[in-house]
Amino acid sequence: MQLESMYQEIILDHYRHPHHRGLREPFDAQVHHVNPTCGDEITLRVAVKAVPQTDLGGEPEIVDVSYDALGCSISQASASVLTDLVIGKPVSEAMQISDAFLELMRSRDSDADDEVLGDAVVFAGVAKYPARIKCALLGWMAWKDATARAVSTLDAGSLNGEQT
């Protein structure tokens, strides 16, 4: 049976006990994404904050990611793993993780960078099943979209001299 190569224990754990699930306040952007082939859907919120200017520069940070989703084990677990990986990270670092995850899904060889991807490397097995890649990407695409919107509100806010 090859099922275990896709349904790694970590994936099933996240599916049964999803992290950061539920829609929370406050948030800066909310998106709704759908997988039109199967009807799976996710509503996802992102909250960001501008970190005060330091030696590291004034990079916005992901404060919270919350979501409500209907979907298969792969899409649910993927969203759960995503929240663990990006909450508390500077946006640019979170985007790098997201890019690495996309690359993992696109390439069928599984020499994934677990330093960047953490638990998300277990999705390497999913990449071998093209029909399921969209499931794994649903949450990530929604997060990317919401984060871009959240950051743009932040930019607009800081231009106006507002505090966030």
Binding site: M1, Q2, L3, M6, Y7, L12, R16, T37, C38, G39, D40, L70, G71, C72, S73, I74, Y129, R132, C135
Partner: protein, 412 residues
Amino acid sequence: MSFDVGRVRKDFPILDRTVRDGKPLVYLDSANTSQKPRQVIDAMTDFYERHNANIHRATHELGEEATEAYEGARIKVAGFIGTPDETEVVFTKNVSEAINLVACSIGNAHRLGEGDEIVISEMEHHSNIVPWQLLCQRTGARLRWFGVTPDGRLDLSEADELINERTKIVAVTHQSNVLGTINPVSEIAARAHAVGALVLVDAAQSVPHGLMDVSSIGADFVGFTGHKMCGPTGIGVLWARRELLDELPPFLGGGEMIETVWMDHSTYAAPPHKFEAGTMPIAEAVGLGAAIDYLTDVDLAAAHAHEQVLLSHALQSLAEIDGLRILGPAEPVNRGSAISFTIEGVHPHDVSQVLDDRGVAVRAGHHCAWPLHRALGVQSSTRASLYLYNTIDEVDALAQGIRTAQKFFGVA
């Protein structure tokens, strides 16, 4: 006469292959697309190897042979669905194109406007919903629909109100691609004709099982597709009453659909060629003709009886599984052999993944019938669909696979 499924299976080369590391293929996705018998594959190969030329325009022997093969396929289609007049058979790309053809031509004929109504049903495939939405947007007509009952039948309780003097078109499916439900289309057509409306029947799921006689069904338009009936992809059919094909303006303009062309206007060929612009899928039409020969030779009535035995067995086996809900009629009455179901606690994608791991090919999702799933209160479903080459053992493999999925995801 007994139906020899073992002999039939030998005609389908793909059924011999293994999948997912050596497991025998159990193909239960024929409502999606059917497999192709050797006879169809050979007919298409023979066409390309020996007769290939363009039709109706090539002035040489190959052109004559290709034209004869293509038009011969049209005659076979006509015979298969019960019309003596093959000019009522228009080749299209698929059912979607057939329905779009009707919707666009009716729109182009200005036969529809504000205050008019089009009636469909909640049970329709997207291909019998979206073209009508587009037509309504273009004309200002209003889209209305039959609901479905909790057991997956059309809710006809308000038919008399729904189909009224404002109704211009009624478009319904003959057999649901999700529920298997066979709808009383003749009854609906009679009501529609009483108020002067035109009737289109989406027969994508019924024609493959030999359940179509256009001379008695009462429809004005019937659409179906080759690839669900042992034929190739890329070829579909619109049957329409000849006088409607005469009346309606063309759908697509281009080569071979014309009679004469000037710089500022054109006149059109007679039906069916008026609706077949450009070079058509010729080898595919030949393949469809071969598929019809095949289905006729194996004795469709016997094949259908075989499918009904499989269906009864499947409905019974699935009903015994705890947590499984069959969408649609639970009894094999007025019902075709597509069975959609949900499993409590396991998403359809995950069910189908476990089945696929065991070599059992099914479909998971909304099966291009999103509104129907919404109406039934489910997000998506798993669908197994049976055809003449399936066996009792394959139905048992499905039931076993479902139980395995339940165990794997810890719900049984």
